[in-house]
C-alpha cells in the first residue's frame, strides 16, 4: 500500500466515524450552508459537530499550513480528501469568504502576526467576513473608489460608502479597499481589516430581482481603524486586491459546474428542438468541467497564466446563465411558480434571476474579456 493509499484509507475510516448522517444529505438551498461567525446559529447539532471535528483536523482549509489552523496537506492528499468527501456526499463544513478570498491574500501578503491572529479564526469559522470593494461610483472601474482613509497618527479615519457588500449585515469583520492617497489611482489604495461593530459602520440590505438580499450598502461615518490593521503597505493595496480577485474569480467560476450532473438527464426534454439545445449545452458543460479540472491542476503547479482566472470566471458564469435559461424553458410553467412548496419556494425562477448577477459580480464578463485581451493575448492598447 502506498502512502497515499494509506492516507485514503485513514480519511475514509475517519469520515465514516465523524461525518454525521445529516451532513451527508444534499444541500437543498443556501440556507443549509454553514457560514460560521460570532452570531451564527447552527441549524442543528450535526452541523455544529461537523464544523468542529473538521476544524480540529485543519480540514476546513486542508492546504493551509498547520501553524495557521490548516491541514498541511499536499496537493495529492488534498485531492484525496476532496474525493472522499464527495464519495459520501458530505456537505462543506464551512462556507466562508475568509477561506475563499481573504485567507489566500493574507497567506501571501500578511505579516506573521496577522497570519497567526486571523487565519486560525477563519479556519475554525469564528469570524464571518465580508468584502468592501465596489462603490456607487466604482463598479467595473473599481480603482476609481473614493472611500477615504485619513492618517490620524495611531489610527485611520474612514468615511465613505460601499455597495454590493455580500452579507455585510451578517458579517463580523470586513476586508475593505480605501483611498489613502489621491496622487495616483491604483497607487493610492490601501487594504484594511476592521470590525463591523466599530462605531460609525452601518448597513442596509439590497433587495434583488430574485427576491433575496445577499448584498448590502455599507456606510462608514468617522470609523476609527487601528494602524496595524492594514494588509501590505500603505498605497499598495491594489496588489492585494487583485490577488484576492484572482481567488474570487476562480471560486465564482466553479458555478460553471452546476451541480455536476447532466441538465438533459435532469430535465428529460421531450421537445426535440429543446433536447438538441440542451445536448449542445451539456457538451459545453462537460468540456468546461474538463477545463476546470485542468485549470486547478495547472494553477497548483504554477503553470497557469496569472490572468487565467478571468477566462475561467467568464466561461463559468456565462455557462451557468445558460443552464438557468434552459432550465426555465424545460420547466415550462412549473418553473414560473414563485412561492409554492411544489417549486421549493420558487427555486427555479429565483436561481435563474440570481444567476444574472454571476457575470456582473467579481468583475463583469466584459471586464474579464478585457483582461484576457490585455494580459494573455497582449493586444495593443487594451
Amino acid at each position: 500500500m502506498t502512502d497515499l493509499d494509506a492516507f485514503r484509507h485513514e480519511v475514509r475510516t475517519w469520515l465514516e466515524a465523524n461525518c454525521p448522517a445529516e451532513m451527508r444529505r444534499p444541500i437543498r438551498s443556501e440556507a443549509d450552508l454553514c457560514w460560521g461567525g460570532r452570531n451564527w446559529k447552527f441549524q442543528s447539532d450535526a452541523q455544529q459537530r461537523w464544523l468542529e471535528v473538521m476544524a480540529a483536523r485543519g480540514w476546513t482549509v486542508p492546504d493551509w499550513p498547520k501553524d495557521y489552523g490548516g491541514g498541511g496537506l499536499s496537493a495529492d492528499e488534498g485531492r484525496i480528501l476532496k474525493e472522499e468527501l464527495q464519495r459520501i456526499g458530505a456537505r462543506p463544513p464551512l462556507t466562508s469568504f475568509g477561506i475563499s478570498m481573504l485567507g489566500p491574500a493574507l497567506l501571501h501578503f500578511g505579516t506573521e502576526e496577522q497570519k497567526k491572529h486571523y487565519l486560525p479564526q477563519i479556519a475554525r469559522g469564528e469570524i464571518r467576513w465580508c468584502q468592501g470593494y465596489s462603490e456607487p461610483g466604482a463598479g467595473s472601474d473599481l480603482a476609481g473608489l473614493q472611500t477615504k482613509a485619513e492618517d490620524k497618527g495611531d489610527h485611520w479615519l474612514i468615511n465613505g460608502q460601499k455597495v454590493w457588500t455580500s452579507y455585510a449585515d451578517k458579517a463580523d469583520w470586513i476586508f475593505c479597499l480605501v483611498r489613502t492617497s489621491t496622487e495616483a489611482k491604483q497607487g493610492g489604495i490601501s487594504f484594511l481589516l476592521f470590525d463591523m461593530e466599530t462605531p460609525g459602520v452601518s448597513t442596509r440590505p439590497i433587495l434583488l430581482i430574485s427576491g433575496s438580499s445577499p448584498f448590502c450598502e455599507t456606510f462608514f461615518d468617522d470609523v476609527k481603524v487601528p494602524k496595524v490593521q492594514i494588509v501590505g503597505e500603505v498605497n499598495k493595496g491594489w496588489d492585494v486586491a487583485k490577488y484576492l480577485l484572482g481567488h474570487e474569480r476562480e471560486m465564482i467560476s466553479g458555478m460553471g459546474l452546476g451541480g455536476g450532473g447532466s441538465l438533459g438527464a435532469a430535465m428529460k426534454p421531450a421537445d426535440p428542438f429543446l433536447r438538441a439545445e440542451i445536448a449542445a449545452f451539456d457538451v459545453d458543460a462537460l468540456a468546461f468541467a474538463a477545463m476546470s479540472e485542468r485549470f486547478a491542476a495547472m494553477w497548483k503547479a504554477g503553470e497557469a497564466h496569472p490572468a487565467s482566472p478571468s477566462m475561467m470566471k467568464y466561461a463559468g458564469t456565462e455557462l451557468n446563465k445558460r443552464r438557468n435559461e434552459l432550465g426555465m424553458t424545460a420547466g415550462g410553467s412549473d418553473a414560473l411558480e414563485w412561492d409554492s412548496e411544489r417549486s421549493k419556494s420558487g427555486k427555479p425562477s429565483r436561481d435563474w434571476l440570481r444567476s444574472k448577477g454571476n457575470s456582473i459580480e467579481g468583475g463583469t464578463s466584459e471586464i474579464q474579456l478585457g483582461i484576457v485581451a490585455k494580459h494573455i493575448l497582449r493586444l495593443p492598447g487594451a
Partner: protein, 376 residues
Amino acid sequence: MSLLTDDQKMLQETAAGFLAEEGSIARQLRHWRDIGCKDGFGHGLWKQFAELGLTGICIPESHGGMGMGVMEAALLLEEIGRNLTPSPFLTTGVAAARTIEGTGHADRWYPRILSGESVLALAIDEGPRHAPERIALGAKRQGNGFVLNGSKQFVVQGASADMIVTAARTSGSPGEREGITLFAIPRDARGFEVENVALVDSSKAARLSFAGVEVDADAVIGDVDQGWQRLSRALWAGRAGAAAELVGLASGASAMTLDYLRQRKQFGRLIGEFQALQHRAAHLYSEIEIARAAALKAAALLDADDERAELYVSVAKAKCADVANLAVREGVQMHGGIGMTDEHDIGLFMKREAVLGELFGDTYYHRERVAELSGY
C-alpha cells in the same frame, strides 16, 4: 486529471519543432496541392515520421512500436493541426492501426506502418453523413470466404492505401450493432473500384464500389458479426485524435489572426485596439482552452479504459469542431479582404476545418451521442 508527464512534454516539443519546420503549409500543403499530387500528402514526410518513430506511437512495443497511447497521438495531432500538415497519421497510425490490433493483420501491416512504407484506410461511411450503426454494405458467405457488394465514401486517402479496413454487414440490418464485420481489403482486389476524389481542403478521399468482391476468410479482422466493438474502439481513438487536430487547427488560425490584429492599421490605429475585436478574440481564446481540455481529457480516459471515455470522446469531438469552426470563421472575417484570397493561408484553415469537422461524425452526431449516453 494530471498534467503532462516529462516524457509527454518532450514528445510535444519534438513534434512542434519538427512539424513547424518540415510540415509547414508552404512545404507540404501548398506544395502538394499546387503540383496536383494524387495522394494529397508527401510520402517523404511520412518516411520522416517513421524515422522519428512517430508512425508507431500507437503500435505496441511487442511489434516494435512506441506502445504509447491516444494521449501521445493527440499531442502530435495538435501540431499536425496547427501546421495543416497533410499526413496519414490519424487514419493509418491511430484509427486503422487500432482496428487490426491483436490480429494476424497486425503482423503483416505494423512493420510497414513502422517503416513508413504503407498507408491504410478506413471505409465506414456509406452516405454523406457519418452513421456507422447503419452500415449496409453486404458481405455474404461464399465457399471459404465472403463476397462483398455495396459502396463506401469519404474513405480518407483510400486511393493511396495498400489495404482498406472495410466495415461490412454479415448479418442483421442497418441500425443494429450486431452483424458488423471488419475486412482487410487489398487495393488490388477484383471487382473493387476506387474513385480518387479531391476534397475542399486538397486532401483526397475515395469513393469505393464493391461489385462482387471476393475475399478469403482470413480477410476478416477479429470475429465475424462482432466487429462493432473493434470498430468503436478505433473510432473513439480516431475521434479523440481528430478533436486534438482540430484544437491545433484552431490555435493556428487564432495565432495567425492575433498577429494580424497586432499589425493591421485602419483609421490610424491598429485594429487590435478596437474593443469589438478584442472581446471576440478573448472569447475565442477561452473557447480554445476549453476545447483543448476536453480533447486531452478524452484521450486520458481512453488510455485509462475509463467508463466515461466514450462520453468524453463525443464531448471532445463536438466541442473541438465547434470551436475550430468559430476560430476559422473569426479568422477569415477579421482578416477582411485579404482573408478571402488564395494567397493568404487563413482560408486554408477554414477548408481543413470543414473536412476534419465532418470526419468520424460532426458536432450534431456527437451531441446526439452525448444525449443518448447521458440517458435522455
